[in-house]
């Protein structure tokens, strides 16, 4: 198990290094002069020089890469050109919106998807299954921003249970969670639909396996065989999807953040891209990549917890 975890960890570090090189190359090397790109065509020569100096563009490439990486490792992400503020602080503010939102949405989607998937699988071909599958079909088809607007219409404008947007900060955790609830639901439902379908089909595969027949021959009821033997085996593909979804929820909440006017990472990226603030873009993208790789690492470890065959594979 430790061997396995170590190997996954080595692969995590390698992925991070490769990702950082790719991001660095795309942002700072390939398009030519980032300073000129950021300032546009009418830039003054002295402003350009000042920006070049600030970005360290006059240094050789390896030095720039090294400075960028060591800076990030020590928590210094540089200063935003447009906001004139440290990027680290900007990210820190936003991540406390985006990360809880993503986790919230993930928990919701799992809480919806697992029971729905298991229920549908246990009633394959019966009305219950067909109803759940129909609902997930809809969930997959409906865009989440549209869904978000419907939620706002019903729960914020008509019922006035939630506010229509904005984020009050974490001083009052209840209010903060409340303001994240509608966005989390809007993000979670389409994901839950996908997850439920994966859970169902994975379970159905498992229910056809020989060891389910063995379990039934031992005297387990259909339901017991499903819960004790099929569910854990069915988790592996489901974990894969959960890992992928988390990455999506973290970075892909951009539209939902717009709809609910949340100061999250998605908005930050969107604004910095519009403002051509490459310093911010570079750091935020690297951070997202880091989180995604970290989540994949966690999923890999979860595989090993679920499946003993992976633990012993050396």
């Amino acid at each position: 198990m430790i061997q396995y975890a170590l190997r996954r960890f080595v692969s995590l570090v390698v992925s991070l290094i490769v990702a950082s090189i790719v991001i660095f190359a795309v942002v700072e090397v390939i398009p030519g002069d980032p300073a000129a790109f950021m300032l546009g065509v009418n830039a003054q020569e002295d402003t350009l020089n000042a920006l070049r100096e600030q970005m360290g563009l006059n240094d050789p490439l390896p030095v720039r890469y090294f400075n960028w990486v060591t800076g990030m490792l020590s928590g210094d992400f540089g200063n935003s050109w447009t906001y004139k503020a440290p990027v680290a602080e900007m990210i820190a503010d936003r991540i406390w919106v985006s990360l809880p939102l993503a986790i919230y949405a993930l928990i919701l989607s799992t809480l919806i998807a697992f029971p729905a998937g298991i229920y549908a699988a246990s009633r394959r071909g019966k009305p219950g299954d067909i109803a759940v599958m129909g609902a997930t079909q809809l969930g997959v088809a409906i865009p989440n921003f549209w869904f978000a607007m419907i939620l706002v219409l019903i729960f914020a404008i008509n019922l006035r249970w939630f506010s229509a947007g904005g984020f009050p900060g974490w001083e009052n955790p209840f209010d903060a969670l409340k303001s994240l609830t509608l966005p989390a639901i809007a993000l979670a439902l389409p994901q839950a639909a996908i997850l439920a379908r994966v859970m169902r089909s994975s379970l159905l595969d498992m229910l056809g396996e020989d060891f389910i027949r063995t379990a039934r021959a031992k005297g387990l009821t259909r339901r017991q065989a499903l819960w004790r033997h099929a569910v854990r085996n069915a988790l592996i593909p489901v974990l894969t999807i959960i890992g992928l979804q988390f990455s999506f929820l973290l970075a892909g909440g951009i539209i939902i953040e717009q709809v609910f006017f949340l100061p999250g990472l998605g908005r930050l990226i969107f604004q910095s891209i519009s403002a051509r603030d490459l310093i911010v873009v570079e750091s935020v993208v690297m951070l997202l990549v880091f989180v995604v790789i970290l989540v994949n690492f966690a999923v890999d470890l979860a595989y090993a917890v679920v499946d003993p065959r992976l633990r012993s594979r050396v």
Binding site: Q3, L6, R7, V10, E209, D210, F211, R213, T214, A215, R216, A217, K218, G219, L220, T221, R228, H229, R232, N233, V306, D307, P308, R309, S312, R313, V314
Partner: protein
């Protein structure tokens, strides 16, 4: 009163009748074997006793277990009965266990389902049962850490944990090697005696049946055609199907003698290593040697058998001979030309070799017609026949293997297993290769079909000199269709020689063990 009594059981699935008027009985301490070819309804008969028939099944008649009719029993009652009164062992030990639970937990589950026992007590009981079935490994192991034979012992332990009155075993040894099979059969016999259980065993292998059963039930197309005491039935079988079945099982092929000429295939000092993962993160990669200095010659016109148990390196050797993988040491040459030239297979040699695989169902693309399937090897030729010549070659190839030329226009699903294997042989022979490798080519076939395919081989040998390497775990088949035999164990050839002398007078202890473990058909009157 019998322990199990099936009376006039009729079974249909979605109105398609499967079983007709099946009647049989099992007494305590008695072993009853149901035998017959695939599709005869053996397995469904067994599942009906468990109450585990597939959806859409309708049954009439009576299935009395200890006087209680299973067909009239409710599902919750059946759940209480399964595992407690009836245990079941399945064919495929590799997939019959849950991969994510320890073997101890899985056996303990049977106990805890039916008795109010604590986790620890149940586990202790499970461990006791492991000793009983001859399994001496910790109960904290997972199924993937066990061999096929060990897994089957776990499945048996699970089935007999509560000492059920009746044990049902569906092809319990079919997926196992002969030596393992012999040990599992002995175990089943001992358990039946010790627990005074009834054993209803399903197997297609008549040698196993004659060896173990007290009573034989022969089924064909959902009906019992004959049943009786083993000795009596073997001496006085009356139904033509029973006779045909036994005749086909012991079928001897009339193999023509052909003069063996100079060596065609020469395998010398071949070693094959497979890399296995590192054992520590920064350690060196290790490798597993699957073939140890394997050397042998195959003469033109010679028919050589290769036998050995699973994992002995048969398949690795086949792949090396076919040039699908390179070897680490030694050389393989056909007619003096290496099969592997540089980094890729030598196409000149590949043209001279063809292979017939085990599974007649998955070795064909289902979307192509037979005419296209059997001409697949043409891509090895520089100038494959075209137009009318191509048609003639296809017709000839199909006729040679006993099929009709018009079969070229059909799809593969329109053929039975035996016919598919004929098509596979036609595909191998269509470019007139020097050497054909049969890799367990008849292992998946029913006995009667197997006999026909083996006869086909003999017939092909009569038409022209035919050199082949026949790989099989089935000793009786190898004995009947080969001139010479190689015995492999753990990547080494431990014995080789003329087939008859190896079988009648084996020298190596492993060959002796293999031959004595193989169940034999009794001499029939």
């Amino acid at each position: 009163m019998s322990l199990l009594e099936i009376k006039n059981l009729n079974l249909s699935i979605y109105r398609t009748p499967i079983l007709r008027d099946v009647s049989l009985s099992v007494d305590p301490g008695q072993i009853v074997a149901i035998t017959g070819e695939s599709g005869s309804g053996k397995s469904l008969t067994a599942l009906s006793v468990m109450g585990l028939t597939p959806q859409g099944t309708q049954m009439t008649g009576k299935v009395l277990l200890d006087g209680k009719d299973i067909l009239q029993t409710s599902e919750p009652e059946l759940c209480k009965m399964r595992g407690q009164d009836v245990g079941m062992v399945f064919q495929e030990p590799m997939t019959a266990l849950n991969p994510v639970q320890t073997i101890g937990a899985q056996v303990a589950e049977t106990i805890r389902m039916h008795q109010k026992t604590g986790k620890r007590a149940a586990l202790a009981q499970a461990e006791e049962m492991f000793r009983k079935v001859g399994l001496e490994i910790p109960s904290s192991r997972y199924p993937h850490e066990l061999s096929g034979g060990q897994r089957q012992r776990v499945v048996i332990a699970m089935a007999v944990a509560l000492r059920p009155k009746l044990l049902i075993a569906d092809e319990p040894t079919t997926a196992l090697d002969v030596t393992t099979q012999a040990r599992i059969l002995t175990l089943l016999k001992t358990l039946v005696q010790e627990f005074q259980m009834g054993l209803l065993m399903i197997t297609h292998d008549l040698a196993v049946v004659s060896d173990i059963a007290d009573q034989i039930v022969v089924m064909q197309e959902g009906q019992v055609v004959e049943q009786g005491q083993t000795q009596h039935l073997l001496q006085h079988m009356s139904h033509p199907y029973t006779k045909a079945l036994f005749a086909a099982s012991g079928h001897q092929v009339d193999l023509p003698q052909t003069p063996v000429q100079k060596p065609l295939l020469r395998v010398s000092g071949v070693c094959r290593d497979y890399p296995i993962g590192r054992t520590s993160v920064f350690g060196a990669r290790k490798s597993f040697r699957a073939l140890h200095e394997v050397s042998f010659d195959l003469g033109r016109g010679e028919r050589v058998g290769l036998v050995g148990e699973s994992g002995c390196g048969k398949s690795t050797l086949t792949r090396a001979i076919l040039g699908l993988e390179d070897v680490q040491e030694g050389s393989i040459a056909l007619d003096g030309q290496p099969v592997f030239a540089g980094k890729r297979p030598n196409l000149d040699v590949r043209r001279q070799m063809q292979v017939v695989f085990q599974d007649p169902y998955s070795s064909f693309n289902p979307r192509h017609r037979v005419g296209r399937l059997i001409t697949e090897p043409f891509h090895l030729l520089q100038a494959p026949p075209e137009g009318i010549a191509r048609q003639q070659v296809i017709e000839q190839a199909l006729t040679d293997v006993g099929l009709h030329p018009t079969d070229a226009g059909k799809f593969i699903h329109e053929f039975s297993g035996g016919q598919r294997q004929r098509i596979a042989i036609a595909r191998a022979l269509i470019i007139k290769p020097e050497l054909v490798v049969f890799d367990e080519a008849v292992s998946a076939l029913d006995v009667s079909v197997r006999a026909q395919v083996l006869d086909l081989l003999a017939e092909l040998c009569r038409k022209r000199p035919f050199t082949y390497l026949f790989i099989s775990h089935d000793l009786s088949v190898v004995r009947s269709v080969t001139d010479r035999v190689l015995v492999m164990k753990e990547g080494r050839i431990v014995e080789q020689g003329p087939t008859e002398s190896v079988f009648t007078n084996p020298q190596h202890s492993y060959t002796q063990a293999l031959i004595s473990a193989a169940p034999r058909l009794p001499e029939l009157a």
